[in-house]
Symmetry: C2
Subunit: 383 residues, 2 copies
Amino acid sequence: MVSVPEGFLFSAVSCGIKKEGKLDLGLIFCERKGTAWGVFTKNTLKAVPVLIGKTNLKEPFHRAIVVNSGVANAATGEEGIKRAEAVLKDLASLLKVKPLEILPASTGVIGEQLPLEKIIPKLSELVAGLSPDRAEDFAKAIMTTDTFPKIAQRTTKDGVKLLGIAKGAGMIAPNMATMLAFILTDGYLKKEEMRKLLSKAVDQSFNRITVDGDTSTNDTVYFLASGIKEVKDGTDFAENLISLAKELAYLIVKDGEGATKVIRVEIKGARNKEEARAFAMSIANSPLVKTAFYGADPNWGRILSALGKTGIDFDPQLVQIFLNDKPWVKELSVQTKEEDLRKEMQKNEVSLVVHLKLGKVSYEVLTCDLTEDYIRINASYRS
Amino acid sequence: MVSVPEGFLFSAVSCGIKKEGKLDLGLIFCERKGTAWGVFTKNTLKAVPVLIGKTNLKEPFHRAIVVNSGVANAATGEEGIKRAEAVLKDLASLLKVKPLEILPASTGVIGEQLPLEKIIPKLSELVAGLSPDRAEDFAKAIMTTDTFPKIAQRTTKDGVKLLGIAKGAGMIAPNMATMLAFILTDGYLKKEEMRKLLSKAVDQSFNRITVDGDTSTNDTVYFLASGIKEVKDGTDFAENLISLAKELAYLIVKDGEGATKVIRVEIKGARNKEEARAFAMSIANSPLVKTAFYGADPNWGRILSALGKTGIDFDPQLVQIFLNDKPWVKELSVQTKEEDLRKEMQKNEVSLVVHLKLGKVSYEVLTCDLTEDYIRINASYRS
């Protein structure tokens, strides 16, 4: 059961953007004047809702988040802005709030216009459906190639609730999150606090996952606080926020397009964070490493090659690799029977630790394997 | 028929590194004291033959190129160097040349040692088999996941011959070539001239192709001249060399692992070469673009998203896209019937021109589509 933070209502309807009457328009409503912050894609081609979201975040208060799936409203020019504004205007009027107080997000095909004729007539049904019990419907309404809705929740020692809802699946690569995530709390937080908290949480979670190295035009994380409860222990709140964001990030990788397993790549013993991150990302994004994990082929040479691909110096002789804590490679030779390594690689969760023995810095990222289903899903995404 | 430059002999044997008695050790012998230059991978993990090749190129003269497939001799430490040196020593003695005059190359699995017990006993057969007629056997001996041998040839107005033999298929991304290529000529060239000529040719060819964005540890291009004929027209020679290198680069992409089509990505109207190259590579390396081409899905939003992923500013409204010279996108709207675009995408050779209208600089790269077969080949490469 979803335990919803106080002050929030949810709704979802099917407008017919997605096929087969699936939910494709979702709404989160904050019953009070809420406070918000957001983090967005670094793709220079920013979708219309990203542009509008950035502007609207300058308002002091926020009342709602509206999200459609199926159409990204990216690369849609002036017409795309007009259409998004038309939706916000009608929705604001129904919700009796200002259009600027609504934060929009979209996900789906790039280059297609929002079908206003489908969306506008459904807005009153959307508003009428608002309820504290419909968070899961909202989570379903934002899915595209996702195979399951992604929800995470926490309660701090102070009894402050946090609820996170995300969608992911493909076009996932930092920076930054490359997905949509909405984190709601009934804690009271100032905008500036929310900015700092969210930035740290995103760095620890959504910026450390990758599916295919493709950065989307629509990545958005909104953080919205209804402000009903006092946050006494800020550290505890921050830890809960990070842990919730990490869980959502994990769920996104788990549902990576066509993925059969989550691979936790940890670089240890690096000289500094930049190098550790570059090494970790190079392994996590390598199609050859990802296909080897899919085939449960303990081809460790591909891991070393991915380290070298960064152009950063390291000593292959020193590198130690561990697979699910089993010693794999040391001094360039294999430490465990190949058959045992294969068995570890066949698991749904695989931990890969690469110790460089160069320094003391660690960095961890999550990735998934690359399978025929990724190809199938993306070769025919629009059809 | 292969028209071989004067002064060169070829041989190939099967040592049993590859399965089913396939050719896996190849030799090129220069009957005179030849001159050579080489260009190598930028991966910091350099394979043993790359390290030895770099050293040996300091010699004034060169007599042979020896290549094995099946084992990359990368990430093999001191033992890997010892084994490669043992091969060169025995081969040099049989060829009656100095070990330093032989240029080595390897391709195959990273992290495995050269099987000396298989290679050494076959060296006398390898040398005994030398003949001007066996260039094609040599080309077969260097193949791994390649499906066909790659040979290109040119003759200059002066009658100077050029012959290029390459292998590619996967782990193909600049910089640099990320494959093996051997270019032979009977023209007379000084080492310094060869360095300049090769560098320019590689920049125009092997540095402009990508299959999977993975840079190998073994990439090598050797350029070896027997020096029998005078090169009177240097410009003509350089043009022939570039054209030959481009043909080899094209053949490598055509044989990209699992690829069904070659995609020529050309950026036009960029502000400068760096930006043009970054835009072109971002499109060419995007799994989402590559799968869309595989599925013949004219999903142009993915192309715009790949432009934006570079983080470089551009105006999506200005972008014009052409598919096989048919207008595809202009002012963010589609110019040709979807069915016609699909038909163009179904061809084996697809040209994609993206005009940014920002400046006057163009840049072209070759890539291929991403298919289920890429996954199959690489999930089970070693088995």
